[in-house]
Amino acid sequence: MSERVAVRKTYKLFIGGKFPRSESGRSYLVQDSNVSLASRKDARDAVVAARAAVQGWAGATAYNRGQILYRVAEMLEGRREQFVALGVPGDEVDAATDRWVWYAGWSDKLPQVYGGANPVAGPYFNLSAPEPTGVVAVVAPEAPALLGLVSVIAPAIVTGNTVVVAASPAAPLAAVTLAEVLATSDLPGGVVNILTGRLAETVPTLAAHMDVNAIDLTGVTDPELAADLEGRAAENLKRVLRPAAHDWSADPGLGRMTWLLETKTVWHPKGL
C-alpha cells in the first residue's frame, strides 16, 4: 500500500470573506509554508471590501454584533489544537479566546457608558451616541502572535468599524488561521480583511488611502516608517494610534474601543 501524501496548505489573504491569492501572484516562506505576499493592489481591494461592509456591520444591532463576536470565540475555542500546532502556546490561545469574549460583551454596553443624556440650559433633550469611525487600517503586533492580533481586531470591530489588518510579516500563520475562524463565524465578508507580506509595501498605501478613516500603527517597530505613515495619514486627517509598548496580557481597558468612536449629539426640542 502506498503511503498517503499529506495535503499541504497555502496560506492566502482574507479579503471580503474570501481567500484569494495575492493579485501579484507572489508568495514567501514562513515555517515551511507558502504565504501570500500582498501588493498595494491587494491593499486597495481590501479597502474596497471593508468599505462595502461598513453599512451592514455598523447598521447591525449591537446585540447582533455581540452574538456574532461570541460565535467567533466559540470557533476559536474549537480550533485550539490548530493554533497550538502552529506554535502558539495553549494558554495564549485561551487568553485570546477570553479576550474576544470580553470585547464581545462590550458591544451593547459601550454606548451606555460613552453615550447618554446631557444636561443643557434649554428646553431640549440632548443626547449623545457613540458611532463607529468607518474603515480602520491596523498593523498587527508581531508578538504575541494570536493574543496581539485579537487584541487589535476585536476592539475595532465590536463598535461597528471594519478593518484591514496588515499581519506581522514574521507571524502570518496565526493571522490566516484566525481568518479561517472568522470565515466560519457568521461574520459578514469584508468586516475583517487580512493582508500578509511586507509592511513597507502595503501599509503606506493604507496610510495614504483617502477612503480609510483611521490607522492603528501598533505593530510598526521601525520609527522612520512610523513617522512616514503618520505623514501620509495626515492627508485626510485619519485618526492615528501611534506605536507604543504594550503588556498584552494585562487588562486592556477601553481605550482601544473608544479611540475609534465618533460622538453624535442630537438636540431635540421638548414639546408641550
Binding site: R44, R51, D211
Partner: protein, 351 residues
C-alpha cells in the same frame, strides 16, 4: 461583411417599403457565433491599459459619459446639480474634461437646459473638426442634452403619444432623443411596424417645425433593450433595422431591466455599425448603457471599440456610455493617477 448582407447592398434604401423585403433581409443576416462572440469579448477584456494610456482612456471615457438620471424621484434641483456636474465633473481640477451629455426625462429637460445652455460653463467646444452626426451643436459648455422619449422605458404606448413625447422633449431644448423601440412588435415579427415607428420618431426629432427654418434636428438614439431580445441574432437584426430606419446611434439598454449592457452584445452591435458603414457609407454611433460602473469596465469597452471598429469611433460623437455611477469612479481613478493616492468616495458628489 458577409455575402448575404452585401448582396442586398444595392437596394438597402428600398427595404423599408416592403415588410417582406425587410424580413427577408433581416433573416438573411448571418447568425452570430455565440461562443465566439463571448470568447472574443472576454479576451479583449484582458488587455492591460496602464499609466499614460490609462490616463488618456479615462479622459476619453469621461468625455463619452452620458450622465444619466432617470428616476421617478428626479427633481429640478437634482437635475440642475447633475447638469452642473456635467460641465465641471471635478471642480478641484480644471483640466478635467466635461462629459458628453446629460440624459433626463422630458419633463426635466428645461431645468437641465437652464444650466447647460445658460451662462454656465465656458469650456472648449466638444465637436472638433471631425465629422458630426448632423446633431445640433451643444450648449456653450459643450455638453449635449439628451432626453429619453417614446414612453420610456417600455415603449408600450400609441404612436401619437410617442410622437408628442418626442416633440415636447425637442421643443424643451433636447438636442438628442433616446427612443425605445417597440420590442413587443419586433419579437412578434412585425418588423415593418418597428421600422415605420423609428422613421416617424426621427421626423419628430425636428420638432414642430421639422425641416423648416434650417433648424438642426435632434440626434436620434435608438434603444434596442438587448436584455429583452433573447438572442444575439435578434440583436444583430434589430441593430440593422434601427440603422436602416435612420437611427444616428444604437443604444443597448434602458437600464430598467435586469440584463443591461454586456461586452458581447456591444461587440455584436459594433460589428453591425462597421458593416453598415461598409454597405452604405453612413457612420452610426453606439452607446452601451446600464451596468457599467467601474473604470475597468469602461476601458474594456474602449479596447473593444478600437479593436472592432477602429479609432473612427473613439470619439464622443460616435461612442457614449450611458451611466450615472461610472463618472465618480472615473474621477477617482483620475485623481489616483494624478496624486498617487487612492481616492475615496467621500470627496466626490453623491448623485
Amino acid at each position: 461583411m458577409t455575402a448575404t448582407a452585401t448582396s442586398a447592398r444595392s437596394d438597402l434604401s428600398e427595404l423599408g417599403r416592403s415588410e417582406t423585403a425587410l424580413r427577408a433581409f433581416l433573416h438573411g443576416l448571418p447568425g452570430v457565433d455565440q461562443v465566439g462572440a463571448e470568447q472574443r469579448a472576454a479576451q479583449l477584456g484582458t488587455r492591460s491599459i496602464k499609466t499614460t494610456a490609462k490616463a488618456q482612456a479615462i479622459d476619453l471615457a469621461i468625455r463619452m459619459v452620458d450622465l444619466t438620471t432617470l428616476e421617478g424621484a428626479d427633481t429640478p434641483g437634482k437635475v440642475r446639480a447633475l447638469a452642473a456636474k456635467a460641465l465641471r465633473p471635478d471642480p478641484a481640477d480644471p483640466s478635467c474634461p466635461h462629459v458628453g451629455a446629460v440624459c433626463v426625462y422630458p419633463s426635466m429637460v428645461p431645468y437641465a437646459a437652464e444650466v447647460l445652455r445658460g451662462s454656465a460653463g465656458s469650456g472648449r467646444p466638444s465637436d472638433g473638426p471631425g465629422p458630426t452626426n448632423g446633431a445640433a451643436p451643444a450648449g456653450p459648455g459643450g455638453v449635449h442634452l439628451a432626453s429619453v422619449a417614446t414612453a420610456f422605458p417600455s415603449g408600450q404606448a400609441p404612436l401619437e403619444v410617442k410622437l408628442a413625447d418626442t416633440r415636447a422633449a425637442v421643443e424643451a431644448g433636447a438636442d438628442e432623443i433616446d427612443m425605445v423601440i417597440n420590442r413587443g412588435a419586433f419579437l412578434a415579427g412585425r418588423y415593418g411596424e418597428v421600422y415605420d415607428e423609428i422613421v416617424a420618431i426621427k421626423e419628430a426629432c425636428g420638432g414642430a417645425d421639422a425641416g423648416r427654418q434650417g433648424r438642426p434636428r435632434a440626434h436620434l438614439k435608438v434603444i434596442l433593450e438587448t436584455g429583452e431580445l433573447a438572442t444575439y441574432d435578434n440583436v444583430r437584426r434589430v441593430s440593422w433595422l434601427a440603422m436602416l430606419a435612420g437611427g444616428d446611434f444604437i443604444k443597448t439598454s434602458t437600464g430598467k431591466v435586469p440584463v443591461a449592457a454586456t461586452l458581447p452584445v456591444t461587440l455584436v452591435m459594433l460589428e453591425a455599425v462597421r458593416d453598415f458603414r461598409t454597405a452604405t457609407g453612413r457612420q452610426v454611433g453606439v452607446k452601451p448603457a446600464g451596468g457599467i460602473r467601474t473604470t475597468k469596465d469602461a476601458i474594456k469597452y474602449l479596447v473593444m471599440v478600437n479593436e472592432t471598429v477602429g479609432p473612427d469611433w473613439l470619439d464622443p460623437d460616435w461612442f457614449r456610455f450611458g451611466a450615472s455611477s461610472l463618472l465618480n469612479d472615473l474621477l477617482m481613478q483620475r485623481t489616483k493617477l494624478k496624486t498617487g493616492v487612492y481616492a475615496g468616495p467621500d470627496y466626490f458628489t453623491l448623485d
